[in-house]
């Protein structure tokens, strides 16, 4: 009885996880090698046909490329901005930094739907404030449509994503900066090291564990992210900003090709498991370091 107690306590949580996570995942793998339709349900075994369909779809390669750009560029930019702002706030010049750190974190607190909406609105071709400023400065033509242009749409979504993710990086960097032993800086000051050298020889090496955690987490989260692209562009125009999670929905619930949708989502899942293992290695590396 005593031995069973912890397992009994875990049971309800495990049941939920099994029902909503584990079984659907297994079912999805089964779906992906079968003929599935909305009307007839799961049909006969067709091997890897769904996978080859996905691989031969030009949309897959485009979305895969876009997802990689979205995840990598978005994460790197967010890390850079997060680090810059953390350094700024770490100057400790009184109460204003406390207020500023509060204000700088707000984008993270907002729902991704609200974030996507707000960005779509400031980038509006005629009535958005950003276009007005840029065109008044003579940088762009009046009525330039950023989200309607296949060359700029993905970039705009990445900006909105960076806006939502940088505060997380900033908060983590700030915690990292505050845990760097002050003696190291004092010693460097005695040696007459410049600010530049202090940053590259003390600050950056000390932040390395934080940077690796943020990089992996940021890439995983962005890789999974459906919200920003869906709200801002729905993957358009002409699929120019299509990413994998949005494509899964498109295959499954717009074209009702559940088999193809399943195959694509399993492929995304495998990529993510690989990234997650990297994450766990980074975390356990941090423990031993």
């Amino acid at each position: 009885m005593k031995k069973a107690t912890p397992y009994l306590l875990l049971l309800p949580a495990l049941l939920f996880t099994a029902l909503v996570v584990a079984f659907p995942l297994v079912q999805n793998i089964i779906n992906s090698v079968r003929e599935v339709s909305m009307v007839k349900g799961v049909g006969k075994w067709i091997g890897l046909a769904n996978y080859t369909h996905v691989l031969h779809d030009p949309l897959f390669l485009l979305s895969f490329r876009n997802t990689l750009i979205y995840a990598l560029a978005g994460t790197l930019l967010a890390l850079l901005i997060g680090l810059a702002l953390a350094l700024l706030l770490n100057m400790k010049i009184g109460r204003i930094t406390t207020i500023a750190s509060f204000l700088y974190t707000i984008p993270w607190v907002l729902s991704p739907v609200v974030a996507g909406f707000a960005w779509k609105w400031i980038l509006n071709d005629h009535f958005g404030i950003v276009n007005y400023w840029l065109s008044s400065a003579g940088l762009i033509d009046v009525g330039t449509s950023w989200l309607g242009n296949p060359h700029t749409a993905l970039f705009c979504v990445i900006l909105a994503r960076v806006w939502q993710f940088y505060p997380f990086a900033m908060v983590m960097f700030l915690a990292g900066l505050q845990s760097i032993p002050q003696e190291q800086y004092e010693a460097a000051a005695v040696d007459g090291a410049t600010t530049f050298r202090r940053f590259f020889h003390i600050t950056l090496p000390n932040l390395r564990p934080v940077i690796s955690v943020l990089l992996v987490l940021g890439v995983i989260w962005s890789f999974n992210d459906f919200n920003m692209v869906f709200v801002m562009t729905r993957g358009g125009p002409m699929n120019a900003s299509m990413v994998l999670p949005v494509l899964v929905r498109e295959f499954s619930f717009v074209y009702f090709d559940l088999g193809k949708g399943s195959a694509l989502s399993i492929m995304t899942f495998v990529l993510l498991v690989a990234l997650s293992f990297l994450y766990i290695r980074v975390l356990s590396g941090k423990e031993t370091a």
């Binding site: 306590l9 949580a13 996880t17």
Partner: protein, 270 residues
């Protein structure tokens, strides 16, 4: 001199960073003709709360709000009840497979929603739960669980074992100890966790979008997310709904900043 430069940098950055939200806030008080003027202005003479009233008539915003409240409250209660039992097991028992189960919960948090959505849709459809509150509550509860467990696990770990041992010596059973000793001590932590779980469900978009279809079950983010594509002309009312929808998260953040930051990064760096 250096101080002035720093302070002004901080202020300029704050403005740039908050620009999308400020612009939305300004739009939410404008009349439609003022929204659709060129050049755009930050303020206009006839700003009012009209869009905040109109949106309840032009959009089914009150139904959406009710749906969001029902789904978020129920999911919070369910995930907290099941999650606290699991967190208690993790923090107070040594058992075979403990690391494995912790890992299962950590990884299920990383799982892309897209990789389970099709079978979930089929399953809910077969059970008659597609496009119902119950269906979405079931999914949200499970989605919130890993997060709830990680947070509570942290809070339970912070309660000294001696307190509980004393209760055990006094003849309490493990579960009575949980109920009478640990839960009251962990109450602040549980409260904070409940608020995060509520917010998690309140903000959730992907599952809510795909697992609902009628206005009677759609939550607020689904309403806003779909409006962006369909009702492009009423930017002022949409801004108003976006602002109103953001009040609970912002309020929570303002009231408990420290816990908030700790909570949102929980599970990330454990």
């Amino acid at each position: 001199m250096k101080r002035i430069i720093l302070v002004s940098t901080i202020c300029v950055v704050a403005f740039v960073v908050l620009l999308p939200f400020l612009w939305t806030l300004s739009t939410s008080f404008k009349s439609l003709p003022d929204v659709n003027t060129y050049p755009p202005e930050w303020t206009s003479v006839n700003m009012s709360v009209r869009p905040y009233i109109d949106m309840f008539f032009y959009m089914p915003f009150s139904t959406y709000t009710l749906n969001s409240l029902i789904v978020a409250s129920a999911s919070t209660i369910i995930s907290l009840c099941t999650g606290s039992l699991a967190a208690f097991a993790f923090s107070r028992f040594q058992f075979a497979g403990k690391r494995f189960f912790l890992l299962v919960f950590l990884l299920s948090q990383m799982l892309p929603g897209a990789s389970v959505i099709i079978p979930l849709f089929q399953f809910l459809n077969a059970m008659g739960l597609y496009d119902t509150h119950a269906g979405l509550i079931l999914v949200h509860s499970a989605v919130l669980l890993p997060f709830v467990i990680w947070l509570l696990y942290g809070f339970f770990q912070g309660i000294p074992r001696e307190v509980e041992d004393a209760a055990l010596i006094d003849g309490c059973s493990r579960l009575t100890a949980l109920r009478k000793v640990i839960l009251p001590l962990a109450l602040p932590g549980i409260g904070a966790t409940a608020l995060f779980a509520f917010l998690g469900s309140w903000n959730e978009f992907f599952f809510a979008l795909i697992l609902t279809s009628s206005d009677a079950t759609k939550t607020i983010p689904v309403g806003i997310g779909l409006f962006v594509g369909e009702y492009n002309e009423i930017w002022n009312q949409m801004s108003a709904s976006a602002v109103l929808f953001s009040v609970p998260p912002l309020l929570l953040f303002a009231l408990m900043r420290k816990t908030f930051v700790k909570g949102l990064s929980a599970g990330a760096v454990k």
